[in-house]
């Protein structure tokens, strides 16, 4: 096309600090809230919160919520909801227990069958949602009842356990220390120094590339602050864990999954299409996106992650009980909404959901240590959820 317009010089490469902070208030706000909550409970518990033992527990307690929040985020961004994940956790735990304890299966085929079962459950629910256009709320409410019932039936109302030791390690094991130092887990420390360093190297490369393309980006000061903060926090956590038993296996799984899902949502065409689907299904469809298949696969994905969470949870308790996973769905959904996902779809980030899950986790853990009863814990968590979403709506109205 010939009619070119003379644009004013290239757009400013760096947004002004104030403007940038304003437009990214939510992202920084989340992170700051988490740090503030950690600091608050660290003070209130006289330092118990961040003791290596408790920190390890915190990770173990929240791993399954975080893992499910990754899948739930995609479901919510696509404009749906999944209420059945708690029941799937229970059902898969029961299934794995029966296979390992009653049929003496090895834990590897058990895990594979369990994950496949999760995929099949997700597919069964996603099919009704995507191809029959039955509201996901209803389909997964039905799924919640069905799979809770099935786990009761599978276990015949009993608890089944214990599990083989190798399976327990999934949840209660720690990575081996290849350096073999006494009293200090050197491998953990090395990993916790190397990982943030590599991440920062990647973002420096990205910054340089954006600079070359003259694209606006985060102000340098903020970038440096954020990078230094990231490095410091991970290194500190690494040091704390190194003085105890090192990195839990499940933390490695969780970190890998967070990385993968952050990448998929941000950098792949599939991720982009899920956002478009949730933002405006009709427009996405008319842009050639197979919206039904995409919805279907978000549920399959959710099923697999819920199954994984079910395995981890069962391994952690070392027994499968019919009550396993009750009301997990609420924590998972709350994590996504606290993390900035929109109930109407199209908006939400993986990092947000993870931070949301940890905000819930730290509050649970902190309040328990302080001695606040389960009654008031629920009240406070409910109010935090409401406040976070109100903050979103208020921000959106102002923008």
């Amino acid at each position: 096309m010939s009619a070119e317009l003379n644009l004013p010089a290239a757009p400013p490469r760096q947004a002004s600090m104030a403007k940038f902070l304003k437009s990214h208030m939510r992202d920084y706000g989340m992170l700051i809230s988490l740090l503030a909550i950690v600091a608050f409970f660290q003070y209130m518990t006289n330092g118990t919160l961040l003791q290596p033992l408790n920190l390890t527990n915190l990770v173990l307690q929240n791993s399954y919520i975080v893992i499910m929040a990754l899948g739930m985020l995609l479901v919510i961004v696509a404009g749906h909801i999944d209420l059945s994940v708690g029941s799937i956790v229970g059902f898969i735990g029961a299934l794995a227990a029966i296979l390992m304890v009653q049929f003496h299966w090895h834990f590897v085929p058990t895990a594979i069958v369990s994950l496949l079962a999760g995929a099949a459950i997700g597919a069964a629910q996603g099919y009704w949602v995507a191809y029959f256009r039955i509201p996901s709320f209803i389909v997964t409410l039905a799924g919640m009842l069905v799979f809770r019932g099935l786990s009761l039936a599978l276990l015949a109302g009993q608890s089944v356990g214990p599990f083989p030791v190798e399976f327990q390690r999934l949840s209660s094991g720690f990575i081996p220390d290849i350096f073999g130092t006494e009293g200090f887990h050197t491998t953990t420390m090395v990993l916790c120094l190397a990982t943030p360093a590599i991440l920062i190297a990647f973002s420096v490369a990205a910054r340089l590339r954006r600079h070359r393309f003259a694209i606006e980006q985060e102000p340098l000061v903020l970038f440096l602050l954020k990078s230094a903060g990231l490095f410091a926090v991970v290194a500190y956590v690494g040091w704390l864990l190194s003085t105890y038993k090192g990195l839990p296996n499940v933390l490695i799984i969780m970190a890998l999954l967070i990385g993968i899902y952050a990448f998929v949502t941000r950098d792949t065409t599939i991720g982009r299409r899920i956002y478009a689907l949730g933002g405006n299904e009709k427009a996405a469809k008319l842009s050639g996106i197979d919206t039904r298949r995409l919805s279907f696969y978000t549920f399959v994905n959710m099923g697999v992650l819920a199954a994984l969470a079910g395995l981890i949870f069962a391994a952690r308790l070392n027994t499968a009980t019919p009550k396993a996973g009750v009301s997990f769905e609420l924590d998972v959904i709350a994590a996504c909404f606290i993390g900035g996902a929109s109930a109407s779809g199209g908006v939400g980030r993986v990092t947000g959901a993870v931070i949301g899950a940890f905000i819930m986790g730290v509050m649970n853990n902190g309040m328990s240590i302080v001695g606040i009863g389960i009654d008031w814990q629920q009240v406070i968590k409910g109010l935090v959820l409401l406040a976070a979403v109100c903050f979103d709506v208020y921000n959106k109205g102002k923008a």
């Binding site: 956002y275 478009a276 933002g279 050639g288």
Partner: protein, 526 residues
């Protein structure tokens, strides 16, 4: 005769657009006053000013009702005086009964408790007045559109209507329902109720109207008295369309090549009303480098045709063949249609075109994400470059490409939709009302883009309700009415009068045909 309504010097501006410019309208006590004009001439805006949808103070000019100056703050104020408007899209709740709908917001209640006996009795009385014999308990969804229209009128009667405004009441009605409705208006007239009738159907106007006011481009052209002398359709059409077209369309030397795209025997049924044919045996072709216009009134089936063609995104029971460069192509899904070089830019950019929450960049690449990705991984810098490139080429006015599209003006939103489809690099682009609701300057830029597209050898199908636009931009024009193509003419030989005549005569032919069938049926019964 006294006038019941006087509107003088009404001027209403929206940001960047003057929708009404010094409009005058006077309605006499007990007359049926027809208001006509093209789509976008300002009829609906004028009625919204009258009914208080645009409150006093947001427009200039004076409204007098029964001699009293009026300053409505909302619909409630105008309804209190008995000015009731019935919109084209009926405001009825489908799953409530006729009675419940009649008294919605005006319940027959004492201290909050609804007196169902009184309500039903009153409903029956109101229904009798409009000639409906259905039970008041019937759900709205169980009666046809014609009866629903009558329920709306009954609702107006329940509010002590003095001036009834009907916005294209017969657009979705069949012949006998339309006749019944017009009869009703004549009866109301005898009872002293005045009406304003907005309609495109000139034969109806000739039948019932006492006077006719013609609007064009937001101004009053003239008011004609039907009793002085019978008014011919020619007279009205001339009044509706007579404006000069100089320099509103960029010049282009048209040089169409061989046939690029062809559709044969294309038909589609309504998605819900099974068996109701909405698109009827369309045969159409587009040459390389040609802009083909499709003219027609609202509801003629143009959008339905285009969407059924574009991956069956409308209707069911779709039949027909599509050819590109003489080879039959598969357009059965949207991605197949796109893969075969088709693109369709919707008339409803907010609901079907854009992801409003997303920024310009993401919307531009949505239909061709693979164009900025390698093995499914998006190259963000390349994506931003693409968006910036379209921003420059199409002159999208925005702070940057990271701006949410919800904050853009209509014209710029339209340019984002166009960018999306240009980036998909189609061979044939269907543009459905691409300039609806955008200002003259942005329209000119859109026309320029269309010209550039065909200069690159693409084909463009332009669906538009604005006849001057079709005449100014298209090389060849098809005229569509009631789901079928009824005429085809080179733009050079076409005129607005010719197009309108093609629509009217096909409509009256269809009416005549229906009448003949009905007469034959009656005869065979006797």
């Amino acid at each position: 005769m006294d006038s019941i309504l006087e509107m003088r010097g009404i001027t209403k501006t929206f940001p960047g657009v003057k929708a009404l410019d010094n409009v005058n309208l006077s309605v006499r006590e007990g007359e049926i006053h027809a208001l006509i004009g093209e789509n976008g001439a300002g009829k609906s805006t004028l009625m919204k000013v009258l009914s208080g949808v645009y409150p006093h103070g947001t427009y200039e000019g004076e409204i007098r009702f029964r001699g009293q100056p009026c300053a409505f703050r909302g619909i409630a104020d105008s309804e209190k005086l008995g000015i009731i408007i019935i919109h084209q899209e009926l405001a009825l709740v489908p799953l409530l009964s006729i009675t419940e709908n009649l008294f919605l917001g005006n319940e027959q209640a004492k201290r909050g408790r609804i007196d169902w006996v009184a309500a039903t009795a009153r409903a029956r009385e109101l229904l009798r007045m409009v000639g409906l014999t259905d039970s008041p308990e019937t759900l709205i969804t169980d009666i046809g559109v014609g009866k629903q229209q009558l329920v709306e009128i009954a609702k107006a009667l329940s509010k002590q209507v003095k001036l009834l405004i009907l916005d294209e009441p017969t657009a979705s009605l069949n012949e006998s329902d339309s006749d019944a409705l017009l009869e009703l208006l004549l009866r109301f007239k005898e009872q002293g109720i005045s009406s304003i009738l907005i309609s495109h159907k000139l034969n109806e106007i000739a039948k019932v109207a006492d006077r006719v006011t013609i609007l064009r481009d937001g101004t009053t052209v003239e008011t004609l008295d039907c009793h002085d002398a019978p008014i011919s359709q020619d007279r009205i059409i001339k009044g509706m369309v007579g404006r000069d077209l100089a320099d509103r369309y960029p010049r282009r030397t048209s040089n169409p090549g061989g046939i690029l795209f062809e559709v044969k025997d294309w038909s589609a049924d309504h998605p819900i009303h099974a068996g109701r044919r909405v698109v009827k045996d369309i045969d159409l072709h587009v040459r390389r480098g040609e802009v083909v216009g499709i003219a027609g009134l609202m509801g003629a089936g143009r959008t339905e045709f285009a969407m059924s063609l574009f991956g069956r995104s409308y209707g069911r029971n779709i039949r027909g063949q599509a050819f590109l460069d003489g080879r039959e192509i598969d357009v059965s899904t949207i991605s197949k249609a796109m893969g075969n070089g088709l693109a369709y830019a919707t008339e409803d950019r907010k609901h079907y075109g854009l992801v409003l929450d997303n920024d310009i960049r993401h919307n531009v690449t949505l239909a061709n994400l693979d164009g900025v990705a390698k093995r499914g991984v998006i190259h963000h810098e390349r994506e931003i470059e693409v968006a910036n490139d379209f921003r420059r080429r199409l002159r999208i006015r925005c702070a940057d490409v990271f701006q949410q599209t919800v904050n853009l003006s209509g014209g710029n939103q339209q340019k984002v939709v166009l960018s999306k489809w240009l980036f998909a690099d189609p061979k044939v682009l269907i543009l459905d009302e691409p300039t609806r609701g955008i200002d003259v300057g942005a329209k000119y830029e859109i026309y320029t883009i269309v010209n550039q597209l065909v200069a690159e050898g693409r084909g463009v199908i332009l669906i538009s309700s604005e006849l001057p636009e079709l005449l100014g931009v298209a090389d060849r024009i098809y005229v569509m009415n009631e789901g079928a193509l009824v005429a085809e003419m080179p733009a050079a030989e076409a005129s607005q009068e010719k197009i309108m005549h093609a629509i009217m005569s096909s409509a009256s032919k269809a009416t005549a045909a229906r009448a003949a069938v009905a007469a034959a049926a009656r005869e065979s019964l006797q």
